[in-house]
């Protein structure tokens, strides 16, 4: 057994919350730069250049990339040979979020009850997804999720007979309806298969996979490529104001499913697709 102390979890989560909100990952920066080089619309190009400048200002002036610093979504991959010491891991994660959002000058965007809607004041609680794995590793990934794009995300419970065409239509419908609301260029995460909630979780996990990477399954990879091409032919464009860059990536994660079903979840993220992870 390997021991990990809660103090180190608090520190890691705090630092990852701040890092994710001030610096995009390299693949996202490159996707933005490539898009600015290839965008066909003049206004679209100007918007993409301003988004690049926005990233520079965020880094140089210590201002979050976007004012919606998100609800903190945390992925924990916990090796079964790890012992957590000094408290409950969930409490440590929330303490890390509390410290990160306070010390990092991040916006507190969480209300304690969906109907009473009183702000909790420290951006807790986080949404935490735990996965067990073999060995004694512990990886924590913080993915702050803004709600302009989260609100445009969808789950479709298709029938097996709907097949690949049904899946493509579902994704294109979600992207079309999101349009300018989701701050395009978007990053489209798709969860295929599993159950109702498994599809949604897969779609969220698909957002963590880098822009430009692909599924190892050839038929899924082909679908990713076709959907990205068709979405970029839509004309929605940067800011929804027209252009050839509507999405940076369509990432699909799939899982086994039931003989009666074909769940499809589409988790839309804006161009500020934030995630930062660390091994502890």
């Amino acid at each position: 057994m390997r021991s990990v102390n809660c103090e180190s979890i608090i520190k890691a989560v705090k630092e990852l919350c701040i890092e994710a909100n001030y610096h995009l990952s390299q693949d996202m920066c490159e996707a933005l730069k490539n898009a600015a080089d290839t965008e066909e619309s003049t206004l679209g190009r100007s918007i993409l250049e301003q988004l690049e400048k926005n990233l520079e200002i965020a880094a140089s002036d210590d201002i979050p990339i976007c004012q919606d610093t998100g609800m903190a979504v945390i992925f924990v991959e916990l090796g079964q040979e790890v012992r957590i010491e000094g408290g409950f891991i969930g409490d440590a994660i929330n303490e890390g979020v509390r410290q990160g959002y306070t010390e990092g000058y991040l916006r507190k965007s969480v209300v304690g009850d969906p109907l009473e809607r009183i702000n909790t004041g420290d951006n807790t609680p986080a949404v935490i997804h735990y996965t067990m794995k073999p060995g004694d590793g512990l990886r924590i990934t913080v993915a702050p999720k803004g709600f302009g794009s989260e609100n445009m995300s969808r789950v479709f419970m298709l029938k097996p007979a709907d097949g690949a065409e049904g899946v493509k239509n579902a994704v294109l419908t979600a992207v079309r309806d999101a349009g300018p609301n989701a701050c395009p260029p978007m990053f489209v995460g798709v969860g295929l298969g599993g159950t109702f909630e498994k599809a949604a979780l897969l779609a969220k996990q698909a957002l963590l996979r880098g822009a430009g990477t692909h599924s190892e399954k050839p038929h899924i990879r082909a679908m990713e490529e076709e959907l990205l091409r068709r979405i970029n032919e839509s004309g929605i464009g940067p800011g929804g104001l027209g252009g050839s860059t509507t999405a940076f990536a369509v990432n699909i994660e799939s899982y086994a499913t039931h003989i009666a079903g074909l769940p499809v979840a589409v988790n839309i993220c804006c161009h500020v697709n934030r995630h930062a992870g660390r091994e502890l």
């Binding site: 926005n54 990233l55 965020a58 990339i65 000058y105 349009g179 609301n181 800011g239 027209g242």
Partner: protein
Amino acid sequence: MEYRLSSPFDPEELKRLRAGDLVYISGCVYVARDAAHKRMQEALDAGKELPFDISGQTIYYMGPSPAREGRVIGSAGPTTASRMDRYTPALLDLGLRAMIGKGKRSPEVHEAMLRNGAVYFAAIGGAGALLSKAITACETVAWEDLGAEALRKLTVEDFPAIVVIDTEGKDLYLREDKKVKIF
């Protein structure tokens, strides 16, 4: 076209604007999003006055991140305007003249804008660090308990925005030449 404008806007100047024009806004804009709109509606329902005179004014749909010491404001980009659609026609009828946000508006908002000669601008979504540079002063007007959602008053200088819906009801998002082609 490109224009430099000052807010509160001259109604005649707003009439010149066309969907697709770029503008640089200087002057005063109020800031309100979901919770502040709900409070404004509750005030109106109770027959009370709003905490500011809305006539002729501009509302920016935004909830900033906290300012570091010595700074005016944190990150300050637009939020999705359609969440305010339910409250907006009443505010337009009270004299609200312009809105800054991002994303589509409802038919009811379109109608109320036409009726009142109002304009809807989009700022670049997700460019909160860049846009914060155009904000030179920020004060809380009411409802400080709402935190990021409090009602604020900003002074802006050359704040960049795009005319999405003009006083004639033209909507840039729905323009034929950029209509979504294949879905």
